[in-house]
Point group: C2
Chain length 297, copies 2
Amino acid sequence: MVEQLPQDVIARLRALDPAVTPELAQASWALLTPFHEKLGYTAPRIVRDLRYGEHERHRLDVHADGEPAGGSTDGHGAPVFVFVHGGGFVAGDKRNPGSPAYDLVGAWAVRHGWVGVNMTYRYAPEVKWPAGAEDVAAAVGWLRANIAQYGGDPDRIIVAGNSAGATHVADFAAGHGGDLAGVRGAALISGIYTARPTLPGAAPHPYYGTPDPVQASLPCLVESQVPLLFAVAERDPERFQAAIAEVTAAWLARHAAVPNLVWVDGHNHMSAVPSLGVDEPALGVPLARFVERHTTV
Amino acid sequence: MVEQLPQDVIARLRALDPAVTPELAQASWALLTPFHEKLGYTAPRIVRDLRYGEHERHRLDVHADGEPAGGSTDGHGAPVFVFVHGGGFVAGDKRNPGSPAYDLVGAWAVRHGWVGVNMTYRYAPEVKWPAGAEDVAAAVGWLRANIAQYGGDPDRIIVAGNSAGATHVADFAAGHGGDLAGVRGAALISGIYTARPTLPGAAPHPYYGTPDPVQASLPCLVESQVPLLFAVAERDPERFQAAIAEVTAAWLARHAAVPNLVWVDGHNHMSAVPSLGVDEPALGVPLARFVERHTTV
């Protein structure tokens, strides 16, 4: 059984003003949360707030099945699916208590037989580029050393990011954060991969400051040795759509092919990630196939 | 149950030389046919070689469920899924007896509750652009008048094309063939949407002759009132990949968004269509969602 939203719910999602606002977040979660409550969004075992670094935001949650020493029966641990949330570089969190955000991602991973990891990271303006990528690298380093005790395979890590989280994961995959050992793939959901120069008279960006060309991850991203998946929601605003067209052109120029693209039918910037589990044909089916493909032993 | 190919079969597909040759066709069908034979690729009722025009190639097959006056129980007939095969404008057919090509597409449609139609069309060099689009329009016109007696709804027609068939369907959706009444969507699988000018000294194209700019369907395609889906196989050769990048850029310029894109994981120019039914996450899941979305009453 592939969970799928009723057409009328998708129609209501599609009718929302797609601008990235708190109203869009509230309306999207209001439509999707009942389906997550019905399905269940907490994995059998959740270990919260493990520290992967010294900053108070260097924390991650592990979602696993009920077996403390679990993992697959073939002698390997299970694939590890890491989710990096969005929030405009300055906000957001790995969990919103009382809401499925983002325990649902961990539960989705566990239902697929993987270990789920939700991480958070330092915010701008306290830290600047490439601190987000460095935090992803630090979390991956922690997982390499520690995830086996939760049933995960330190050599089969997939990292997924959404919005600003996708940008951090892209910078990481592009080599701006640190070691990529053990990383089998990166899924970039509704991100932007080129930092624009600050317009004359405009305030510096809280995370990029005044971008210089090296802060555009795209030229390095197309050289990444990590397999990539790029997703865009049907109702993502133009700047996210333009990012996908830009990636497609750059990928063609470098690889004579377009990248693994997922167009998330019916969803918007806020609803693509919470489509996981409750509207699987939209994003879950191709994303799970990507994970399975790149974590096959 | 979503049918899915074993990873080792996908790995063998992916290892094939992706150049569009008879060898690729033979190797791809050799890998996939056993799965179709196991699943079954003949709908309960197949009516062959119905004539939609005066030429000997103006023929189509209707695939339906066992009820001669079938259709859905809500007072409407069933959605109608039309498949237009490829073959480089000069070859190919709606059926290869003894093989699942392309009865499998009709069987896939019927399993989804639709009426399936496989059509063929006139070949170049006997006919030139836009004869392919005109043949698609003629077949659609015939279906508008006749498909109700097979359980189909003449107001809910989806047309899908593959390779040269995708080009014909694109020209049709772009308005170069005739009336679009009743057409709810068009799915373009591994097509090319811009006729290149003939290089000096090169032979004229068998279908386009010496292309002129109006024969590029892309400028009209992005204006089409028919909802479109564009699919490209992971292992499609560069010219098909470039077509998708070109469509993406043109769509962004016209609609401030990218189109409905499907990247067919693991498959090649010959295997994407026969993935239907036996490797559903690759193409079948998003294609079925497209049909359901645009044929909802």
